[in-house]
């Protein structure tokens, strides 16, 4: 009896980690291989990070020696309306770069995999997948200029011309609020969509078709199969996409710089662009470093939360809860 129980346990719960052959003689020798990585980490990440944090306590114009001013920059940031506007806009960027692309990406990937792939063959599915991914590889400077032409004010803009065909008057898309932010968000959805589509389509390959067949036999419709089987199996990929896109949304800079420069009237300001302005145009390096440090802290906190939630869900899954 006890033998049977042990066998069942082995088949239901595989080992959590692949077993690595252990060598006698300790692990001291392995550290040598990690050394180059640590040196790079030190030079590229840790030293600049520490220097950046130090600068938050200084007033510095970028040359000569920084002047130590204590917590002045940190006190200033609390009452800085532009700073809070920039972080509010980060929430909109998260909607445009994480929420919408992830949901749309799931739907598009499932449709391409399930419907298009089956009815029209894998090549059509691959072609469409590549099409959605194209904005990801297009330099944002190029895309930004083209988008600027499309939404330019007056009747010269492509969008205004098209609206004109239906008798809709020309509108200043980038010069007014909230349209400037909406245009920026639409652009970001367009740019981001391809990434989750590609990741989710790759993840869908892992799903055992027999599970779908079994569910179909049990009478499950497409949505039930999608929510119960697909979503459950590709959850790790959903976490990865959500985490990486959230970090990208918090750090977004290029599209804002190219398309709106934070305008009109600072309404599309985001933290990375605000830090850039303080660093390079106002030469308030200390204050720019403070904004950058806050951004780093937020990114780290968000990452930790994501990873913890993911680990917790995985643990529950392994435990069969």
């Amino acid at each position: 009896m006890s033998l049977v129980t042990r066998r069942e346990g082995r088949t239901k719960l595989p080992p959590e980690q692949p077993s690595i052959p252990q060598r006698r003689g300790g692990t001291g020798a392995y550290w040598m291989y990690l050394l180059p990585g640590f040196v790079l980490l030190l030079i590229v990440v840790i030293v600049p990070l520490v220097w950046n944090v130090y600068l938050t306590f200084t007033r510095w114009r970028g040359v000569r020696s920084p002047e130590f001013i204590g917590l002045e920059n940190w006190q200033k940031i609390l009452g800085d309306g532009d700073f809070w506007t920039s972080f509010t806009n980060s929430v909109w960027m998260i909607i445009a770069m994480v929420v919408v692309p992830t949901i749309l990406g799931l739907i598009v990937a499932a449709l391409l995999f399930d419907v298009v792939g089956r009815k029209f063959g894998g090549k059509v599915g691959s072609f469409l997948r590549a099409t959605y991914y194209l904005p990801q590889i297009l330099p944002i400077a190029v895309a930004g200029i083209v988008i600027g032409w499309i939404v330019r004010p007056g009747s010269d803009g492509a969008l205004n011309q098209m609206l004109g065909w239906f008798g809709i008057p020309a509108y200043d898309w980038l010069g007014q609020m909230p349209s400037a932010l909406i245009v920026l968000m639409v652009v970001m959805v367009w740019v981001q969509l391809g990434y989750p589509v590609v990741v989710f389509m790759a993840a869908l390959q892992r799903v055992d078709p027999e599970l779908y067949e079994a569910a179909e036999l049990d009478g499950a419709n497409w949505f039930q199969r999608f929510s119960a089987i697909t979503m459950s199996i590709i959850r790790p990929e959903i976490f990865v996409v959500t985490l990486t896109c959230t970090i990208a949304a918090l750090k977004v800079f290029g599209p804002v710089y190219i398309i709106t420069r934070g305008g009109p009237a600072g309404s599309t300001l985001v933290p990375a662009y605000y830090a850039y302005q303080e660093f390079f145009t106002k030469r308030n390096v200390g204050y720019g470093a403070t904004i950058a440090t806050v951004l780093t802290i937020v990114v780290v906190i968000v990452s930790i939360i994501f990873i913890r939630v993911q680990n917790s869900l995985e643990r529950k899954e392994r435990a069969g809860l």
């Binding site: 040359v63 200043d172 980038l174 934070g262 009109p264 600072g266 303080e278 106002k282």
Partner: protein, 433 residues
């Protein structure tokens, strides 16, 4: 195998050492003050611009006369503006560099000791005799980097000013005269609006709107206001008559249709093009457009004057030649500057749509250019150059764009706009006062 690894390592180390020695040798050579045979020169004028053509000729003359070689690196304005302060602090600094004038730019470099005091060279070569007093203001800085000081940190070769471009054909068609007073200017704007034409080419996403705003403040102010604003000679009253008149008038221009309602997202290039293609008959902007309009605005007759009825105009010397403190060949740099001040080089600037500061008027053969130079000389004679609104504080350009966008989109009123501008101005200038 072990021996091979060891020998490869030794060879690699030897190569690295040799490279290191060679590199340190190069650096040492530079540190010792240069070879006196190579002038490392940076500027950001386009090859086809008036200055670009003049500098190219100056390089030829310099190489022939001195036997030295010019090592020219073409930079962009943004590149030098954003990174110069870091580069100038190193041995990679050039011997001579073009740099933007003003407190937040050349003044900043002067205050940090990154560019050299060239007062002795100015006196030795007599450049000060060739420059009108109002042009000297932007070349001389105090130890805090405020222009108009006693120490020469740069030399300008050309000037610039903001005036009004008029499409003469459009005026003739509408039965209007080119205005000579501000009231006539407003009457013309009203007349065009009545005919369904938006008269002013304008751009709220870049400098033109901020420059119009400052011109309107200058119309309501005097030299005392300019000195307060630009030279920190007293406090600027940000709710006072000059700034209030400027801000309220801009809002009024939008309300009355003198400026398009979608001005806030328009860039300078688009505004210029709307004048070139005849869409807008009036464009308030700088002399830097002049050469472009000569080449491209060929479908109609046009002219440029100083802002009607104004005693003060935006404008200054052009960008400056500055000599980095770490320059290896300062003497060569001075010789090059001297060549650029010669009449033949100045004439190239003048005949290509630029505004030379030391040209012989007889050398200006182009009629249109002569007309521009005459207008500029009129501004100089009236001591009318009043600099640019974004100069007093680092980053104030972005502040002006942002706040005026808020004004013209109706997000904020004139009083709030003035208050925001004042707050940012005071913060940006606090350490210079």
């Amino acid at each position: 195998m072990a021996r091979r690894i060891r020998s490869t390592t030794v060879a690699a180390l030897a190569a690295l050492t040799a490279t290191g020695v060679a590199l340190s040798g190069c650096t040492a050579g530079t540190d010792e003050g240069g070879d006196g045979q190579t002038l490392k020169l940076w500027h950001y004028e386009g090859a086809d611009s008036a200055m670009g053509k003049a500098w190219a000729e100056a390089i030829d003359i310099f190489e022939k006369e001195t036997g030295a070689t010019v090592e020219f690196e073409e930079k962009s304005f943004e590149q030098i503006q954003k990174t110069a302060s870091q580069v100038l602090d190193t041995d990679a600094a050039p011997d001579l560099m073009e740099f933007n004038k003003g407190n937040a730019t050349a003044g900043f470099l002067a205050s940090t000791g990154l560019i050299a005091d060239i007062s002795d060279a100015v006196e030795e070569y007599g450049w000060d005799d060739k420059l009108a007093p109002s042009l000297q203001t932007t070349a001389k800085y105090s130890e805090d980097g405020v222009m108009g000081g006693d120490t020469w940190f740069g030399v300008p070769n050309y000037g610039e000013f903001v005036g009004v471009y008029y499409n003469e054909d459009a005026f003739a068609e509408a039965g209007l005269q080119i205005p000579t007073t501000y009231d006539e200017f407003v009457d013309v704007l009203d007349a065009f609006v009545a005919k369904g034409v938006t008269p002013l080419a304008e751009a709220g996403a870049e400098y033109p709107l901020g420059q119009l705003w400052y011109q309107l403040a200058l119309n309501a102010g005097d030299r005392g206001f300019v000195d307060q604003y630009q030279l920190y000679d007293g406090e600027v009253d940000w709710q006072g008559p000059e700034v209030t008149a400027a801000t309220e008038t801009i809002a009024e221009y939008v309300d009355k249709g003198y400026i398009a309602s979608d001005v806030s997202s328009v860039k300078a290039e688009d505004a210029g093009v709307s004048f070139i293609n005849g869409t807008s008959p009036i464009f308030v902007s700088g002399s830097w457009w002049f050469g472009r309009f000569v080449a491209e605005a060929t479908g109609f007759d046009w002219t440029m004057t100083a802002f009607p009825g104004a005693d003060l105009s935006l404008g200054s010397s052009g960008n400056l030649w500055v000599v980095p403190e770490n320059a290896a060949n300062k003497e060569l740099a001075y010789e090059f500057i001297d060549i650029t001040m010669r009449p033949e080089i100045q004439a190239i600037i003048g005949n290509n749509g630029g505004l030379p500061v030391a040209a012989e008027i007889d050398d200006i053969t182009d009629e249109k250019s002569a007309e521009l130079i005459e207008t500029f000389n009129g501004v100089l004679e009236a001591d009318g150059l009043s600099f640019y609104p974004d100069w007093p504080a680092p980053g104030f350009y972005d502040v002006l764009v942002q706040e005026l966008q808020g004004l013209v989109t109706g997000v904020q009123d004139a009083e709030t706009t003035n208050a925001n501008l004042g707050e940012q101005y005071d913060e940006g200038t606090a350490e210079f006062r």
